[in-house]
């Protein structure tokens, strides 16, 4: 088991190094940092001096080391567009994206799992068919379309919920939260549903198909043959065996949620990292792009590692080595 954990950790480090290389390459070689930072009137000598000062004439390896060093201290230079330190820009918007992502993930689990269980147990009821239709819509429609649809129905037509922004936020020092104000709570509903609908549908279908598979196994048949009541068979045995693979996939999907937040934040003008990244792409703002890439990669790698460890904890077959009788 230790070997397993070590192997995954090594893989994680490998991915981070590769991503760091890509981020560095982007940062240094795509587009000229100097041209972005100075005006047209600056003389060639001044540019050269600047290059020297910024260490742009050092060897690639040295520059890469500087880059890693800077990254470890959260220093990614300044944004081309905003002329502010990248780390400040990202930190300011980090809570907004995280809150949105977490609320969406929670929503998708709280709705997706029960719906999945229900549709597995009552395969022909009309409610099941309704759920399956909703799930099909959820995984088919592109996120932005769902967002626009929701805005159209709930903001434009019914006027119940706001269609943009985060509402009033409470500043907690290192974090700003919109969950403590009424307007903040109202503002997060539509974006969270938009972002979470795909995940909810995915989880629902996954739970359903896993549970149907599990219900066909011999151990469920044997449990029934022992006269165990339905309640124990379904929610004691079947559910536990269903949720183990589902939990790990759901965990991995959280990374996907953070990425798709880019779209949701655009639709709802939600002031998060995703919107910042998109504007960076539109304006070729390399420092922001490269920093975002590294940050997101770090989050993904961390999630993957946690999920792998979770599997070890939950499945006794991996955790305990089989011993002969």
């Amino acid at each position: 088991m230790l070997a397993f954990v070590l192997r995954r950790a090594v893989q994680a480090v490998l991915v981070m190094i590769v991503v760091a290389l890509i981020a560095f390459t982007l940062f240094r070689f795509v587009g000229d940092p100097i041209n972005q930072m100075v005006g047209i009137e600056t003389s060639a000598q001044e540019r050269e001096a600047l290059r020297q000062q910024l260490g742009l004439n050092d060897s690639v390896v040295v520059q890469f080391a500087h880059f890693i060093w800077g990254a470890a201290h959260f220093d990614f230079g300044a944004s081309y567009q905003f002329k502010q330190p990248v780390v400040d820009l990202i930190a300011e918007r980090f809570p907004a994206t995280m809150e949105l992502s977490l609320v969406s993930a929670l929503l998708s689990l709280l709705l997706g799992i029960p719906m999945g269980v229900y549709t597995a147990l009552h395969r022909t009821s009309w409610l099941s068919r309704f759920f399956l239709t909703v799930s099909l819509v959820g995984i088919s429609l592109p996120t932005f379309l769902i967002g626009i649809l929701l805005i159209f129905v709930f903001a434009v037509t019914l006027g119940w919920l706001p269609s943009f922004g985060r509402g009033d936020v409470v500043d907690l020092g290192f974090w700003t939260t919109g969950l403590l104000t009424k307007s903040g709570l109202r503002a997060i509903i539509l974006p969270a549903v938009t972002l979470g609908l795909f995940q909810m549908a995915l989880i629902m279908r996954l739970v359903r198909s896993e549970m149907i598979e599990v219900l066909r196994t011999d151990y469920i048949k044997f449990a029934r043959a022992r006269g165990l009541p339905d309640r124990i068979v379904y929610f004691g045995h079947a559910l536990k065996n269903t949720l183990v693979p589902v939990m790990t996939i759901a965990g991995l999907q959280f990374g996907s949620i953070i990425a798709f937040a880019i779209i949701t934040e655009t639709v709802f003008q939600w002031p998060g990292m995703g919107l910042l990244f998109l504007k960076a792409v539109q304006n070729a703002d390399i420092p922001i792009m490269s920093a975002y890439l590294l940050l997101v990669a770090a989050i993904y790698v961390a999630i993957n590692l946690v999920v792998d460890l979770l599997y070890v904890v939950v499945d006794p077959r991996i955790r305990i080595d089989a011993r002969a009788a």
Partner: protein
């Protein structure tokens, strides 16, 4: 006396095979499911409309000279101040929404197919090499695949697009935009092909007929093309069908975000982006009709895919 026409064995074979196919479980479940049949019709209609756009559309929305700003913001033909010439209304540039939907679908499908072709070509090539050569080359390619798989396609596509912008500058013409888009989407999707093909190549490579070919001295390239590649086509086709829907969605999303096809030659995604600005002011048709078209296309493709998966999976019956 009349002699009945003589049926050749080939005819009997063919008609027998057709009869067997039509009686198979798969076709049976297709005919039973009204929803799937409906989905197939819808998908066919949209695809046909897209393909035949130049002949079917009443206007050419990409011809900037034919546009008249005075026509802009016309509501659909059935509204009180609508115009029969513009069945579904016009957008803010005076483009006929119906025609733009047809031409836009065409563009979306074209970009989708081109990017899938790129992804498939790249993925198959890398997969064949990795599976056949093995060793460190295989490890390299697969590690690259692993790294890329950590990230969702949209992130990769955005990254490539942003990089292209930085490298080539902001002011590009239409064809460059399309190629950059195809490149971004294509490069996001090669991994699945590579992995599948690598696995299959690995299996085939160790089979006796390949060993025999190598012993005779046939060049590896030839072995790959003539022996291994045909065995790989089946599973790859399955991936392509799923991939096409994803590619179309990705293109629509990128266009909606403003980094895809531009407003001068809009695809469905771009139109929705434009229409999004007018949702509150009442000119809803600019976003709604392209939205419905995109939704219908993607929903029907997924419905058919769903049905296909259930029909081919004996366990879920």
């Amino acid at each position: 006396m009349d002699m009945p026409p003589v049926e050749t064995t080939e005819d009997t074979d063919q008609s027998q095979r057709l009869a067997t196919f039509l009686d198979s479980d798969v076709v049976y479940s297709f005919r039973q499911s009204k929803v799937t049949v409906l989905a197939a019709i819808v998908m066919l209609a949209i695809v046909l409309g897209a393909v035949l756009a130049p002949w079917v559309a009443p206007h050419d929305p990409y011809d900037l000279k034919s546009l008249n700003l005075l026509d802009a913001h016309t509501p659909p033909a059935w509204a009180s101040d609508g115009d029969v010439r513009f069945l579904l209304g016009t957008d803010d540039q005076g483009r006929d929404v119906f025609s733009t939907i047809l031409y836009g679908s065409r563009l979306s499908l074209a970009v989708g197919m081109l990017s899938v072709a790129l992804a498939a070509a790249l993925g198959i090539a890398l997969g064949l090499i990795a599976g056949y050569v093995g060793g460190s080359l295989d490890a390299l390619i697969m590690r690259a695949a692993d790294v890329q798989l950590t990230f969702p396609a949209i992130l990769i596509a955005l990254l490539i697009d942003g990089t292209a912008r930085a490298l080539f500058g902001q002011y590009r013409d239409e064809s460059t935009t399309i190629w950059v888009l195809v490149l971004s989407i294509g490069l996001s999707f090669w991994v699945q092909y590579a992995r599948t093909v690598r696995g299959l190549t690995f299996v085939e490579r160790n089979k006796d007929y390949v060993l025999a070919a190598r012993l005779i001295g046939i060049r590896p390239g030839l072995i790959l093309m003539r022996h291994i590649l045909p065995n790989v086509v089946g599973p790859v086709l399955v991936i392509i069908t799923i991939n096409l829907a994803l590619a179309i969605i990705l293109e629509a999303t990128l266009s909606f975000l403003g980094v895809g096809l531009s407003p001068t030659e809009p695809s469905l995604g771009t139109m929705i982006r434009i229409g999004n600005n007018y949702l509150f002011s009442g000119e809803r048709w600019i976003a709604i009709f392209p939205g419905i078209t995109l939704a219908a296309l993607v929903l029907s493709v997924n419905l058919i895919g769903d049905w296909l998966r259930d029909a081919l999976n004996p366990k879920l019956r």
